[in-house]
């Protein structure tokens, strides 16, 4: 087949310089763009400092919140950009946690606890940065391997197909004792290598990765496919390729989240990575607004703060002469009701799916 000529140059308007962007001046636009990265990162950092200062159970909750944040940002990279649902991302988190556990648990302990392991897995031992890198790679690789099959589907079919992946992975991790504990038992003894100050750095790193992705050409083209799947190919966009890229990056970030989860929880068990975790992460993202990084960050913050508050109230809080408390078991009811009300009031999430705007400009406009 002969090679076709590339299309001719398009129209021009009267020889004017058309390369200049209209509207806001360069430096203020750049500042506004940078703020969409700095704002969320700063908030996460400050939130972590506060949690760490309060200490005790709040610091523990803060650590889990950072893990959720990484998973939510990971899911946002795919679902937010492509508009395709995924109920399967926790599968990537699960394999990430598995990889991290297998690499960091002391080999002597591993041999006793996990007697059926492949010998290379029984002997291997790696420091936490290597284990996190492997968790990321494994998550990304699994996503890349299944993407060609899943990425042809749209809407609810895509969501359910990804759920199928979660079922398969869950079953394999539960019963394949050559790569983990015997039938559904726990992997214990994951060392506590990731205190809050390290977790927060990883979380900020993930925010940077997501931000860089959002500004890449592939993300811009994928957002167009989200807006109109019919028109996108007509604009020259290969929908499948850009979905595969997003799905792979997203899977890698969720794999990293699994590594963080293993280090934070220190016990890894396949039953952790099921429908409960799946829907918690989706709820966080939908609450914040699926279409923006800021949505993932704010959603995690609000959800985790509310959850911590409720845990606190369950224990009873003394305010002067009164003891305020909520009954045991009321926490999920309040969380669920909050989610319903929040989505009724703000169907596109708390952020409306927009990125954080530079506050100075807003003040100026008001003034």
């Amino acid at each position: 087949m002969s090679e076709l000529k590339t299309p001719a140059t398009g129209l021009t308007v009267g020889g004017r310089d058309l390369g200049r962007r209209r509207g806001r001046s360069g430096s203020s636009a750049r500042l506004a763009t940078m703020w969409t990265l700095i704002g969320p990162a700063l908030l996460v950092y400050l939130g972590t400092v506060v949690a760490s200062q309060i200490g005790g159970p709040v610091a523990v909750q803060g650590a889990y919140a950072l893990v959720s944040l990484v998973a939510a940002v990971g899911l946002q990279i795919f679902t937010g950009t492509s508009g395709v649902l995924s109920f399967g991302h926790i599968a990537f988190t699960a394999v990430g946690a598995w990889a991290y556990g297998l690499l960091t648990i002391d080999p002597t302990l591993k041999k006793a606890l996990l007697p059926d392991l492949f010998s290379f897995l029984a002997d291997v031992h790696a420091p936490w940065p290597v284990a996190l890198a492997v968790a990321t790679t494994v998550g990304g690789f699994l996503a890349f391997a299944v993407a060609p099959f899943l990425m042809r589907l749209n809407g609810l079919q895509a969501g359910i197909a990804t759920f199928g992946l979660l079922m398969v992975v869950g079953q394999v991790l539960t019963y394949w004792s050559s790569i983990g504990p015997r039938s559904g038992q726990a992997m214990v003894g994951v060392p506590a290598d990731l205190p809050l100050e390290r977790l927060v750095l990883v979380a900020i790193g993930v925010i940077i990765v997501s931000w860089v992705y959002q500004h890449a050409r592939t993300a811009r083209l994928l957002r167009a496919t989200r807006e109109d799947l019919t028109a996108a190919p007509g604009s020259g966009i290969n929908v499948t390729i850009h979905r595969v890229i997003a799905f792979t990056i997203s899977g890698a970030v969720c794999g990293l989240g699994g590594g963080l989860w293993a280090a934070t929880n220190r016990v890894v068990q396949s039953s952790h990575f099921g429908v409960g975790m799946t829907f918690t992460i989706i709820a966080i993202l939908v609450l914040g607004g699926t279409r923006s990084l800021w949505g993932a960050v704010l959603g995690t913050l609000v959800w985790s703060a509310l959850d911590s508050l409720l845990v606190y109230l369950q224990g009873g809080v003394t305010l002067g002469d009164y003891v305020v408390s909520i009954p045991e078991g009321a926490r999920p009811i309040i969380l669920g009701a909050t989610l319903i009300v929040a989505l009724m009031v703000r169907p596109d999430g708390l952020t409306g799916g927009r990125e954080l705007t530079w506050p100075v400009q807003r003040w100026r406009r008001r003034g």
Binding site: L4, T6, R20, D228, G234
Partner: protein, 246 residues
């Protein structure tokens, strides 16, 4: 009008296509040359949009071939055709509704091989040309109907096409807008782009097309200059007297 190499054309050759037994196209032969405006008319359900889908890779024929500048491109996916110089608009707009007007145009430029700076420049120029420059930062869904139609064409032009297929681009426009639109179509063709124009507004078709191709019930029915087609008794019969006042 530019005189172009006859092999430089987008052509449908003997196209047949049936959907669950119902024959939508049964023998269509159309050739769109660079630099010309070709009108495609026919009654509702004649197969006009189906033919556009065939020519742009949105669907493939059961029989027949699609030729682009002498190359058989039957079965190529739509995104590949868009990158090879075949652009289209849609009857129902299909804009990227929540993206800005500018981004609608820029993504099409980016997806067809432009650098960021080139895409930005092309978008600025096209938005200027199509009268949407002052709304470039708004979401596309906020545009009035007339601008929506024009943005669809601007987005298609951002792929730097050699062939542009417009599926009822003037639907819902008022007389003044239709007049302007005709001018835009002619200026696009003047740059060497072959334009296929589907529309029910016969006055627009007669005003801007050099040739008109009529399809009826999935078949190529007749083709000629506006004068030839206007004088054809067969056309009136094809429309079953519908067109008396148009």
């Amino acid at each position: 009008m530019t005189i172009s190499d006859p092999s430089e054309a987008l052509a449908a050759v003997g196209i047949h296509r049936a959907y669950s037994g119902v024959k939508a196209l049964r023998g269509v032969d159309v050739t769109l040359r660079r630099g010309e405006v070709l009108g495609l008319i026919g009654p509702n359900g004649a197969g006009k949009s189906t033919l556009v889908n065939m020519l742009t890779g949105y669907d493939r024929p059961d029989e027949g071939a699609i030729m682009l500048d002498g190359t058989d491109i039957t079965g190529w996916p739509a995104h590949r055709l868009a990158r090879t110089g075949v652009a289209r608009t849609y009857q129902r707009g299909h804009l990227y509704r929540d993206l800005s007007v500018r981004e609608n145009v820029e993504v099409a430029a980016l997806a067809t091989g432009r650098s960021r700076a080139e895409a930005r420049g092309d978008a600025t120029g096209l938005l200027e040309l199509f009268g949407a420059a002052d709304r470039s930062e708004q979401p596309a869904r906020t545009l009035p109907h007339g601008l929506e139609r024009r943005l669809g064409v601007a987005r298609a032009m951002a792929t730097r096409p050699n062939y542009l297929l417009l599926d009822e681009p003037a639907a819902g426009l008022n007389e003044g807008e239709i007049g302007e639109f005709g001018e835009v179509i002619r200026s696009i063709a003047a740059t060497g782009v072959g334009v296929l124009l589907i529309d029910h507004n016969i006055r627009l078709i007669m005003a801007v097309c050099e040739r008109i191709h009529v399809i009826v019930q999935g078949r190529s029915y007749l083709e000629g200059t506006p004068d030839e087609v206007r004088g054809s008794q067969a056309l009136v019969e094809a429309y079953l007297g519908r067109s008396g006042t148009q």
